[in-house]
């Protein structure tokens, strides 16, 4: 269950009563969630349910309208002094983001840079690592995702699965404490999904804390420590993935699962 991974340490992510609207449209109504260190949480739900928006709130790509998100003891996007909350400067927000890796549905690799340059870009520019050190680390990560021989290739020459593995390596190069995956396999041809999931499984095994928005129920069942079903901007149901998937309690969960399973 959720508690199994909760060692004595504090949780990695705590979201409390998160609210987010775009104009008059409220996407997240009241989301609370705790992710412990080393835990893998999968988020499922119909499109438009706010899964991706919630993920983007965690690294402050979207500003919250209500509630708070704390990652590794720091309040995301704000600083609290006494009972006043101050907005962070862009620089401070960037500082928080570099510890949170993110993998996108559409990969978002930098097409004008080679695979290697994609990976060393942020470590050299943001963390001011030397090019040699960053390159050595990048090659190590590329080997880990099985793409060492593609270092000098441009993203356009890679398959979708390969691009997504590079995107994972690029995020890992910043040595993040937390990895966010926003439907990482949804844009892939079916036969390429496996290679990306394998990399993610290995990552989970290595103890990375991960929040994964996905439609891959098999992955959720096998890897996740906890599963969250979101619909209409609220968490409808959560718990052990095998439990939720095989014995859903809410009608909405049942309806959704009957369509995707």
């Amino acid at each position: 269950m959720t508690d199994s991974a909760a060692s004595a340490t504090k949780p990695m992510v705590v979201a409390e009563r998160v609210v987010k609207s775009f104009g008059s449209h409220t996407v997240l109504r009241d989301i609370s969630l705790t992710v412990n260190r080393g835990e893998v949480v999968c988020v499922i739900g119909p499109s438009g349910s706010g899964k991706s928006t919630f993920l983007r709130c965690i690294n402050h790509l979207e500003k919250l309208d209500g509630g708070r998100i704390v990652v590794d003891d720091s309040l995301i996007g704000y600083r609290q002094r006494g009972d006043k909350i101050y907005e962070l400067k862009p620089k401070e927000a960037a500082e928080q983001r570099k510890d949170i890796g993110m993998v996108f549905q559409r990969f978002n690799l930098f097409p004008h840079l080679t695979v290697l340059e994609n990976i060393i870009e942020a470590p050299t520019q943001v963390k001011r690592q030397s090019k040699d050190a960053a390159t050595a680390r990048a090659m190590e990560l590329l080997a880990r995702v099985g793409l060492a021989e593609k270092a000098k290739a441009y993203p356009a020459s890679l398959s979708g699965g390969q691009q997504q593995r590079v995107a994972i390596a690029r995020a890992l190069a910043m040595d993040p404490k937390l990895m966010l995956f926003d439907e990482p396999t949804s844009a892939l041809d079916p036969e390429l999904v496996g290679e990306v999931l394998d990399v993610m499984k290995q990552l989970a095994k290595d103890g990375m804390t991960m929040i994964v928005v996905t439609h891959e129920m098999g992955f959720a069942r096998e890897v996740a420590d906890s599963l969250i079903f979101m619909d209409g901007g609220v968490v409808v149901e959560s718990g052990d993935p095998r439990e939720v998937l095989s014995n859903p309690q809410h009608d909405r969960t049942k309806a959704f699962l009957s369509k995707v399973l």
């Binding site: 620089k91 960037a94 690799l109 097409p111 942020a122 593609k150 441009y154 910043m174």
Partner: protein, 325 residues
């Protein structure tokens, strides 16, 4: 599945490829007739121009084409073009970035700049720059209400040539700003998201990620602007700068009372420069097409060639390496 079908392909050897189609190509009789007519008309025009029109005065064209005054003026024209465009590209990029920045003050300044410099004719602007020394007689550097550090008379500080460069550059910057802005907006927003998520600042992601990718969209219209600028330099007579190509050839013809050959001389020089610029644009476009095709673009990126995944097809062997323009 159907065994009868597969039986027909019993010997699928590598050498046994399907036979290519040997069809008689479609004929284009109308096309050919038009081509012949056009060739005849052009030939008639050239023959007529060469033999029948003394006002063209071809010997004079030959005489003045490499006249030292004309080639010196051509050099001034190219200097004006290059300096004004460099200034315009730098300033235009700055204004475009300002317009897209989250800062409302910068946005407003950029908008007003565009409004003024795009909203008035370049000729009028050049006349204004020519009057700079009349309006502002001295240039003073220092802190207001204190003893100035240095003072120059405007006339001595800025030559007519530099006034022309400034006038052309500031006007062109307004147009370049819109081109650069279009280029920036053409880049997938996912790129900004990815760089932001990696902890890059707005400036870092703009300079390292967005602007390089926007180049593919920026370069073709910029090439257009350079060529346009080459010809706009003929307006600097408004400043008045009289050493560039058009004004100089016109001044010569004022002495010889023979304007037509000198117009032809100026046109030949403009065409010559335009041809060079178009060639340069071709290579620039190829350079910034990096990463958009499966095959490497070649000499521009020497380090990438050896290990590129499809490096076996060398750039030279690649048939459509020049699909840039």
């Amino acid at each position: 599945m159907s065994t009868t079908r597969s039986a027909r392909h019993e010997v699928p050897g590598a050498a046994d490829q399907p036979e290519p189609i040997k069809a008689i190509p479609l004929r284009h009789p109308i096309r050919n007739i038009f081509a012949v007519i056009i060739i005849l008309v052009v030939a008639a025009f050239i023959w007529d121009a060469a033999t029948n029109r003394p006002t063209y005065d071809w010997p004079a064209v030959g005489k003045y084409l490499f006249d030292q005054r004309v080639s010196a003026a051509a050099l001034v024209t190219i200097e004006l073009t290059v300096l004004a465009m460099v200034g315009a590209i730098l300033l235009g990029t700055l204004i475009a970035v300002m317009r897209l920045s989250p800062n409302p003050v910068l946005k407003g300044v950029a908008w007003v700049y565009l409004w003024i410099f795009r909203g008035t004719p370049v000729y009028v602007q050049l006349v204004f720059w020519g009057l700079l020394a009349t309006i502002y007689k001295t240039i003073t550097v220092g802190v207001p209400f204190t003893e100035p550090w240095a003072t120059w008379t405007t006339q001595d500080a800025i030559s007519v040539f530099w006034l022309a460069v400034i006038g052309l550059a500031l006007n062109e910057a307004a147009y370049m700003a819109e081109i650069v802005r279009a280029g920036i907006l053409s880049v997938d927003p996912g790129q900004t998201e990815a760089s932001t998520a990696l902890g890059m600042s707005w400036a870092q992601s703009m300079i390292r990620i967005i602007l390089p990718q926007s180049m593919r969209v920026i370069i073709p219209p910029t090439g257009n602007e350079v060529i346009s600028m080459l010809k706009t330099t003929s307006l600097v007579t408004a400043v008045p700068l009289s050493t560039e190509l058009y004004t100089r050839t016109r001044d010569i013809s004022a002495e010889t009372f023979n304007p037509i050959p000198l117009l032809i001389v100026a046109s030949i020089w403009y065409l010559f420069f335009t041809s060079i610029l178009m060639t340069g644009q071709f290579f620039l476009e190829r350079r910034f097409a990096r990463g958009t095709r499966f095959v490497d673009v070649g000499p521009g990126t020497p380090t990438d060639v050896p290990t590129a995944p499809v490096a076996s097809s060398t750039p030279a062997a690649h048939p459509n390496k020049g699909d840039g323009s």
